[in-house]
């Protein structure tokens, strides 16, 4: 260190002119460095802009694709996906679950025409079954996927719905909720004996609620009745893990309420016609009878459906129907 100091001491000190020249030189180098950096940054930005523009140009030259094409295809078969997942099957199941939801949501959004909850085939959701099958093959305990499949699939592909839930039962034989879903699918298809058998089998599973036995008995005795339907949707609402299933159950319960209200309105219309010998020209004429039937009315005496939209009086047919704006599912 000492030697270094000596060397430093003995070296001639730079003249002020040389120091200024050195400083100016350094400033020049720094300026050039900054300019070079700015140029490089510009090249990065311009390069990205160019690639964006070129990608758009290439995309425009390709034939137009169905925006749902990606959702229509399964990359691999469910069992293959399960084998290839290397312990990441939970994440893969979630991925297919998210795809299923997005798939249905986009189809519903894109569809222009009319459809009912009982028949979703016009929407063209043909790949929902395989997507849910994939999801549940990767995660056989994924109850929300069975929930969703049991409620939505019967309106698209009833056989796929039965297959999905039956496979769920074989993977989770003690899960009473799956028997409930199987019973529900059979009930919807008016196969009351099979529905009853499913409820009976479910009632034997550990933790099954007592109403499973009650539904099993009701299925055989009065399978197609509204009482059974109401019980079914009430239990579905209480037990569903999936939010969309709960929403659907609420819609169905509202539909049942509306059906009962319309029955009461029809009775009131029939009473009026019997007394007056004609149909009422507007709701005001029949309002006292509707009030007596405990229906919800507006200030002008117009009955409201469960979604708070007024019912429409069909004076020509002496009948009642749902308004176009009503959120109640059409029959």
């Amino acid at each position: 260190m000492k030697a270094t100091d000596e060397r430093t001491d003995s070296s001639p000190s730079p003249s002020p002119g040389a120091a200024e020249e050195f400083a100016a030189g350094r400033a020049g180098v720094a300026r050039r460095e900054r300019a070079r950096d700015a140029l490089l940054a510009l090249v990065v930005v311009m390069g990205l802009v160019q690639t964006f523009a070129l990608a758009r140009w290439l995309d425009a030259r390709r034939p137009a694709e169905d925006p749902f094409a990606a959702y229509e295809e399964l990359y691999v078969r469910p069992e293959t996906a399960r084998r290839l997942s290397l312990g990441f099957n939970g994440v893969a199941a979630d991925w297919y679950w998210l795809r299923s939801i997005q798939y249905v949501g986009r189809k519903v959004e894109a569809f222009q025409g009319e459809f009912t909850l009982d028949d979703l085939r016009p929407l063209g959701i043909r790949n929902l079954g395989p997507l849910l099958e994939q999801s549940t093959a990767l995660d056989p305990q994924f109850m929300a996927a069975y929930d969703f499949g049991a409620v939505v699939l019967p309106a698209i592909d009833p056989d796929a719905a039965v297959r999905l839930v039956e496979r769920g039962i074989s993977e989770n034989p003690q899960e009473w909720r799956l028997y409930h879903y199987l019973g529900y699918i059979h009930w919807q298809a008016n196969r009351f004996r099979e529905a009853s058998a499913a409820y009976e089998a479910g009632a034997r599973q550990p933790g099954a609620p007592p109403w499973m036995n009650i539904l099993a008995a009701q299925m055989t005795a009065q399978g197609g009745s509204r009482t059974v339907a109401r019980e079914m949707y009430r239990r579905m609402y209480e037990g569903a893990a999936d939010e969309q299933v709960r929403t659907l159950a609420v819609q169905r319960l509202a539909q049942l309420d509306s059906l009962e209200e319309r029955d009461r309105i029809r009775r009131a219309l029939a009473d009026f016609r019997e007394r007056a010998g004609r149909c009422p020209a507007d709701w005001r004429e029949v309002a006292p009878l509707l009030r007596a039937a405990r229906l919800r009315l507006t200030g002008a005496g117009v009955p409201l459906d469960p979604s708070d939209v007024p019912y429409v009086l069909d004076a020509a047919a002496c009948d009642v129907r749902l308004d176009e704006r009503s959120k109640i599912p059409k029959d």
């Binding site: 084998r83 994440v91 199941a93």
Partner: protein, 284 residues
């Protein structure tokens, strides 16, 4: 990093290890090497992957929750624990294969073996050092998943606790992968070791297929071959409890204990094999 700095750092580390070495026997020597391996991993910014993990978890919790139709807790567990496994496997493979190779490449292994350190002790120390790094990594990730669950559920949720057996099994799986990487790196180049370790990780998750192949083999030789592969390669599906953990299910206590014991026995065998190979290696 310039070689001089590396050499100086290694020298300092060696001096520190030397001080420890004088103090006591084999356990202290192994502990000193493990401690230095851990410090080296921290210096190499291996734990920076935790930042990426936090970003994934936050993204999952905030954005995917909206899309998942009330399945956000399941998705957080699946995503969080899978990320913990994935990052852990990357660290185990890419850091694991360099454990021995780096020391040979930098020639620091001569400084270490000039001290009274056995080759087995060196390997065990290196192994435990990386396992310590992974333990910190996995514990922080597990805690991150628990916190995300508490945040999303807006209070206490049993999943925050019930995921921990699965976290522990992920850690045991990573310990096995490190031991495999160490075995390969004791006689092979890092690139080949990484590839072979990755293959073992993949095949380890296909062990059920190996078993069924051995049962369904056409000839006796084929049956024997697949059965030998099945028992020779680690059965990593014993540690796949992420999906079950996402449903709040924990492994049965006997399954958990036997899986841990199986892992420890397998690791012991791999470390012994690594030592046998490494002992015969000539560094000249």
């Amino acid at each position: 990093m310039p070689e001089e700095i590396v050499a100086l750092k290694t020298e300092a580390a060696a001096r520190e290890s030397g001080a420890d070495l004088r103090r006591s026997g084999a356990a202290a020597r192994v502990a000193a090497i493990a401690r230095n391996t851990f410090r080296e991993a921290v210096r190499d910014r291996v734990l920076y992957n935790l930042v990426l993990f936090v970003l994934i978890l936050t993204g999952g919790a905030v954005f995917l929750g909206e899309l998942s139709a009330a399945q956000e807790l399941k998705i957080i567990v699946d995503m969080g624990l899978s990320a913990a496994l994935l990052f852990g496997v990357f660290i185990a493979i890419f850091v694991g294969v360099g454990l021995v190779y780096k020391e040979i490449e930098r020639r620091t292994i001569y400084a270490i073996f000039s001290k009274p350190v056995g080759r087995g002790e060196f390997l065990l120390g290196k192994y435990l050092g990386l396992c310590l790094t992974l333990a910190v990594n996995v514990a922080v990730m597990g805690a991150g998943v628990s916190l995300a669950l508490l945040y999303v559920s807006g209070g206490w949720h049993p999943l925050a606790l019930s995921i921990w057996p699965a976290v522990a099994l992920i850690y045991v799986e990573l310990m096995i992968v490190v031991a495999v990487a160490l075995l390969f790196s004791s006689f092979s180049s890092p690139a080949l070791s990484a590839l072979l370790t990755f293959f073992v990780f993949v095949i380890g998750h296909f062990s059920a297929e190996l078993k069924s192949l051995s049962a369904a083999g056409a000839s006796g030789v084929a049956r024997l071959f697949f059965a030998a592969l099945y028992y020779l390669l680690p059965n990593l599906s014993n540690y796949s409890y992420i999906t079950a953990a996402a449903h709040g299910r924990t492994p049965a206590a006997p399954d958990f204990l036997v899986a841990v014991l199986y892992g420890l026995a397998y690791i012991a065998a791999l470390l012994a094999a690594s030592t046998l190979v490494f002992k015969r290696r000539n560094f000249k």
